[in-house]
């Protein structure tokens, strides 16, 4: 089965037999006791493994488990199990939960679906609708299946943009004291942090921001425990499934994930087809405004790239905050190829800010190499794993027989850009939530909800599987 994950996050190394790859980054924590004696390992009748010490004593050995989480950082051994990983988060799972709600009295869940604007644009292109029309019809379709609320991740993205802006300015301000403060790399794309990246932003991605909003604020508001909500995100790629399953986004007390399931735009299309429904025929519904950026019937978006507009917003904000410059329009300079662009703020011959957007493996490669050698001139880089960014994600709806991928992408881009942009600072609902909710929680709790952490994982090197 061909890999669905972005080129950067491909699970490689398919072999005739699965062995722990040299690349496996699952740190196998074993409690080692001092001693020179060599122990034997024996398989018991029940299939468990025991270590037999020299003195005859037996110790049951823990099974090494590798989960979805671990594979995020790995280019190791589990290619064959990709189908298993993807099946755990599929539209089948969503339908199961909805079925359960209808048939069982107990374990009822409130089902919330958060739709990304890129997925909306992708479905809009396929069904010949405007992006907002697609959103309204999708809301109607999902609610018809039993979904309770349909939100839009442009809303949570507003938080991501505001936090990213502030994070950058804060780090830029202390770059003289801290050499690691800049350059800053975006982290909204899970396909990019598997890649030995250095200073990535701790701000949560829009998907995980929505996770915080739904499972903390919304849950509290509704008087529910986070585990009573089943939160689905509709995203343009498969890598987002892995992001949702990161242990940092698992609420251990409630034993639930902040985003329970990610399904792709393509999977939504499949759902429609399985129900014999064409999105264009569905009657539009009113939008759930609690966590959606809307103006009447129309969705609002953000300026900048189809991958979130991080470069645009951080640049504009930083120019104003740090140098008092009002940037009305950004001038992008294409470098090696169209997926590598540069923006500069210059004044009196000096370069004040140097930003770039690098999409796709080949450009990320060059960026990482330059960063390693300290030869990168950039203060901030918007990094995305997919060439042409999220609008061209691996989970977007495929072109129909009459169209090629390029034409389709252009159509999706136009539909996406047709939505009116709103400046994050001007979003009153978001400002309200900062005031009424986040401020009351205190700085530490607010940071937990708006930011995350990244952990460097040690690679294990062993002599196994050396191949010619």
């Amino acid at each position: 089965m061909a890999s669905h994950f972005s080129g950067v996050l491909q699970l490689t190394d398919l072999d005739d037999f699965i062995t722990p790859s040299q690349e496996c980054v699952k740190p196998v924590k074993v409690e080692k006791k001092q001693g020179k004696s060599v122990a034997k390992i024996q398989i018991e009748d029940d299939g468990s493994y025991v270590q037999v010490n020299q003195d005859g004593g037996k110790q049951k050995l823990e099974r090494a488990k590798i989960t979805l989480n671990d594979c995020l950082a790995c280019s190791g051994c589990i290619t064959s199990a990709e189908s298993v990983l993807i099946a755990q988060q599929s539209h089948e799972e969503l339908l199961k939960v909805l079925r359960n709600n209808k048939t069982k009295e107990t374990e009822q869940k409130i089902v919330v679906v958060s739709v990304s604007p890129q997925s909306r644009a992708s479905l809009a292109a396929h069904y010949n609708l405007s992006s907002s029309e697609a959103g309204r019809k999708l809301t109607s379709f999902l609610k018809g299946l039993g979904v309770h609320h349909v939100f839009d991740t442009s809303f949570s993205r507003t938080f991501s943009l505001l936090e990213s802006q502030r994070e950058f300015v804060e780090r830029f301000s202390r770059k003289e004291q801290d050499s690691k403060a800049v350059p800053m790399l975006t982290s909204a794309c899970p396909g990019t942090y598997a890649h030995k990246t250095q200073q990535i932003i701790t701000t949560r991605s829009p998907q995980q921001m929505m996770g915080s909003l739904v499972k903390s604020y919304f849950a509290e508001q509704q008087g529910l425990g986070p585990q009573q909500i089943y939160h689905v995100a509709v995203m343009p790629c498969f890598d987002k499934k892995l992001e949702a399953s990161r242990s940092d986004f698992y609420l251990s007390k409630a034993e639930t994930r902040e985003v329970d399931c990610v399904i792709t735009s393509g999977e939504v299309q499949k759902m429609l087809e399985e129900q014999n429904v064409s999105l264009s025929d569905v009657e539009p519904a009113a939008l759930d405004t609690m966590f959606s950026s809307v103006c009447g019937d129309e969705f609002l978006s953000h300026a900048g790239s189809g991958s979130g507009g991080y470069l645009h917003h951080v640049f504009t904000y930083a120019a104003k905050q740090l140098f008092g410059e009002e940037v009305k329009e950004l001038t992008y300079r294409t470098l090696r190829n169209k997926d590598f662009q540069e923006v500069r703020l210059e004044k009196d011959g000096a370069v004040l800010l140097c930003f770039a957007s690098t999409y796709g493996f080949r450009n990320i490669q060059n960026l990482v190499q330059k960063l390693k050698r300290g030869k990168s001139p950039y203060h901030f880089v918007e990094v995305m794993a997919c060439p042409s960014g999220c609008l061209n994600g691996g989970g977007q709806v495929r072109p129909s027989s009459s169209q090629n991928q390029k034409e389709l992408l252009q159509q999706v881009e136009e539909l996406y850009k047709a939505e009116r942009p709103l400046l994050p600072e001007n979003d009153t609902r978001v400002a309200e939530l900062y005031e009424s909710w986040l401020r009351t929680l205190g700085a530490e709790r607010a940071k937990e909800l708006l930011h995350t952490q990244f952990h460097a994982v040690e690679k294990m090197t062993n002599g196994l599987t050396i191949k010619w």
């Binding site: 080129g7 190394d13 190829n337 493996f361 080949r362 490669q365 060059n366 060439p387």
Partner: protein
């Protein structure tokens, strides 16, 4: 008149390890070899014999699998199992390490310079083929990463005349790549071999390609403008397709590890796992669409272990080098001799 392959010199080049590859410099004066001892050796002629001029020892942490000279002869690239490709710059009689190209996830199997001298291709067990570009400041950057193969990629070779790249893989296929818009794409996948394709090379004009395989054959491929709507047994995009016009079978007792097409004489040499080195010549009377190659000379016990590589000297017709798992290099003279 009979063609003969006669031994000029046997060299114990990489003692106690494998010699994986040999490559002549563009002016034919030097021979670079590399091996399991992680070293690269440069050989030059002194009088009648070949002696070791330089040893490049500390460039790699593991086996050096292939070496390639830049078209100008001033740079040498080495591909290693340590997942890096090292670029060496020639300074008088020595070489200094200029830069190390990183990026492949595991063993790099081959490196090749494009005739323009600006582009470099590498391929790896990680199934990918990378194209690199070098600028005037000797800075190397990745141009593209191609993932058309489903298994270990063993070899890459550039077309002699146009910016076209070919790769050979453990997945039994050959892929042809070309630049399209602002990225490189696989233009054709050539299927035909029934096992790993170990190596491939183009003829001097770039009209034909020879490939060799674990299926013990050598195949000759020819480029044809595509006929409308015709589906050949290779898939293709664009307006050119490659078809297999000749298969040499029954000559090799084991895996054929390398094939080399002499740019001066058109002779085809092979290195085989049955320890032999063989030379084939094309029958001039045969139709160009159905070429015929005959075995004209062979050294059945060229080495006492697998022969890994053969390379024709680009300036001196008939001068051939081969190397083996036993660490040896042999210099051969292929020529016509009077029958007694």
């Amino acid at each position: 008149m009979k063609e003969v392959l006669s031994l000029v010199q046997r060299i114990s080049a990489h003692p106690d390890s494998r010699c994986w590859f040999v490559s002549w410099s563009p002016n034919g004066a030097l021979l670079a070899s590399c091996g399991g001892d992680k070293a690269i050796r440069i050989w030059g002629r002194e009088g009648d014999s070949w002696i070791c001029k330089t040893v490049l020892q500390d460039g790699h942490q593991r086996t050096v699998r292939k070496v390639a000279w830049s078209p100008c002869g001033n740079y040498l690239a080495s591909a290693s199992f340590d997942a890096t490709t090292c670029i060496w710059k020639k300074k008088n009689n020595d070489f200094e390490s200029l830069t190390v190209l990183e990026g492949h996830e595991n063993e790099v199997k081959c490196v090749a310079w494009a005739p323009s001298g600006n582009l470099l291709a590498t391929c790896s067990r990680d199934k990918s083929v990378w194209v690199w570009e070098v600028d005037e400041d000797e800075e190397y950057e990745c141009v593209t990463v191609l993932n058309s193969h489903t298994q270990d990629v063993k070899h890459v070779a550039w077309h002699p005349k146009k910016e076209l790249l070919a790769s050979a893989s453990y997945d039994n296929n050959i892929c042809i790549y070309k630049e399209e818009d602002d990225d490189w794409e696989c233009q054709a996948t050539l299927q035909g071999h029934t096992s790993t394709v170990w190596s491939l090379c183009f003829d001097a004009a770039g009209e034909r390609m020879a490939s060799c395989s674990d299926d013990r054959t050598v195949k000759i491929w020819k480029e044809y403008p595509s006929e409308n709507g015709q589906v050949t047994f290779c898939s293709f995009k664009g307006n050119l397709s490659w078809k297999c016009v000749c298969t040499l079978s029954g000559y090799h007792g084991r895996t054929v590890y390398d094939v080399a097409w002499c740019q001066l004489t058109g002779a085809l040499a092979t290195a085989c796992g049955d320890d032999a080195v063989r030379v084939f010549k094309e029958d001039v009377t045969a139709s160009p669409d159905e070429p015929v190659f005959s075995l004209v000379a062979q050294a059945t016990k060229a080495h006492n272990q697998d022969a890994n590589c053969v390379s024709w000297n680009p300036k001196e017709a008939g001068l051939l080098a081969s190397c083996s798992d036993n660490g040896e290099i042999v210099i051969w003279r292929f020529k016509e001799e009077e029958l007694d």
